[in-house]
Amino acid sequence: MQPDWVALGVFIALFLAVTILGFVAANWRKGDLNILHEWGLGGSRFGTLVTWFLLGGDLYTAYTFVAVPGLVYGKGAIGFFAMPYTIVVYPLVFLFMPRLWAVARKHGYVTASDFVRGRYDSHALALAVAFTGILATLPYIALQLFGIEVSIAEMGVNPEIALTIAFVILAAFTFVSGLRAPALIAVVKDVMIYLLIIIMVIYIPIQLGGYGHIFAAAQAHFTAANAAAVAAGKPPVGGITLSSAGMVAFSTLALGSALALFMYPHAVTGVLASKDGHVVKRNMALLPAYSFLLGAIALLGYMAIAAGVKPDATYGANIAVPGLIHMMFPSWFAGFAFAAISIGALVPASVMSIAAANLFTRNIYKEYFRKGASPREEATTAKTASLVVKVGALAFVLIPGATAYAIYLQLLGGVWILQIFPALVFGLYTRWFNRWALLIGWAAGMIVGTYWAFQVNFAATYTFTIGGQKYAIYTALAAFIINLVIAVVLTPVFNLAKAGNGQDATASADYEQLSPVAAAVEG
């Protein structure tokens, strides 16, 4: 493919503008960026609006713009599991995240691992939580890099070269500005994305003859594809409604993803960076605006079918949205669209790498390597770690099975991150669980979840035979159930064996104070 110079010119100009903004952000609401709390949590003073942009920019990523519509394009209705996922996640988080905010503020916790160590008095469990957070973040960052790669490749650029440049920009501005860079750029990104999506969901259906025609075309496509697949002795491809077998997969993918989302270090960071607990609660009623957007973007998968976008030789179904943009819009607008998508991936990738770096610095480096590290040394270590994390993410881009559908990368992260749910979320309510039981449950969930993921070549669901019936269930949720059952069964066993359950550093009142009146903030 010849490079599209007009699209590239617009793309590069917008990227440069955003990069400059990233460096300027270092001076925004100035704090000492050599201190981890300032670099990594933006000083914990974000209000409702900034938190909304930050969490939104954090959660709606290349996952939304590339991966979900790619799945809808390739398999149909199953891709819409992302809707119930982003519907139920907010009521869920409304309940428990303010409790984490409160206890974290009271005790100066910056990560989930800090909390788990304080709550259970367990270094092993805290290490498990930190390790899981870093590991699970890698494929999620990989998805962002992959999204940028696909967009740039669609403009006719050698993806390896383009990806290298994007990677350097991301690394550089994260390194210099910390969380302040993505928070400010998130605002710019959201304006671009909203503009792009509104134009796309109005303009393209008009061009394609309306939603009725788009769904009819998608239906016809899947009917033909299914017939061809069955004739070739393969399972059906998909459809615009769910098969009865698909319903279980759909529900478990939605529920598992919702339970997992706010376990991610970057989501925890976004919540803890807000200035009080009410900001968190308010945002749970405001963030669904992004869910609505997600649904509109998912429909682009069907529009790509109706427009006749063909699966790409290199990127397969992941090409749906970039291919559609290329087909429907003039070059200059395509350049704007690809810049919007790429910046939309850049922001979360930056926040994710910062969050993973915070975890490494506080809960691994300081804990096990340099007990007496100075604040300045902490910040330097975190900055270096954020670079290492991004390099680690690159490895996941290179796993062929995991990028067949880009969404598999995110779902793989979910398999791991969901395993810290019992220690973290149940821990916000009760000390009933024994810390050793939680640790063994976590290990079991990690091992079986990873095993199943490899068994199905990273394809998100694993088929279990229960009572003679076959059910495809999201691997993360299945592993989580194993984890939970083990933790519940072993807790009384350890208690009977008089295995120590440690000293709880928190008191029940610590979980309920949502305004920072009396609380001292410590980094």
Binding site: A77, M83, P84, I87, P91, T241, L255, Q513
Partner: protein, 68 residues
């Protein structure tokens, strides 16, 4: 006014059960697995989900304003 529990209206905490409604409405697929009735060319399965984004936001907002 906020009391020491961080919740404006502790007596109304039972309203938290409202937050379960979106789970039932969107995770039980038989409620919306079909294509009819369609709305402006969009099958039921799809517009139902968009509708629940809005309903869920309203429920969450109500719980926040009443309970805090």
């Amino acid at each position: 006014m906020e009391n020491s529990s961080g919740v404006r209206n502790k007596g109304m905490r039972w309203l938290y059960v409202l937050l379960i409604i979106p789970f039932i409405a969107t995770l039980w697929i038989p409620f919306y697995g079909g294509t009819e009735p369609s709305l402006a060319g969009i099958p039921y399965f799809y517009w139902y989900q968009f509708l629940w984004v809005i309903i869920t936001a309203i429920i969450t907002a109500i719980v926040y304003f009443i309970v805090g």
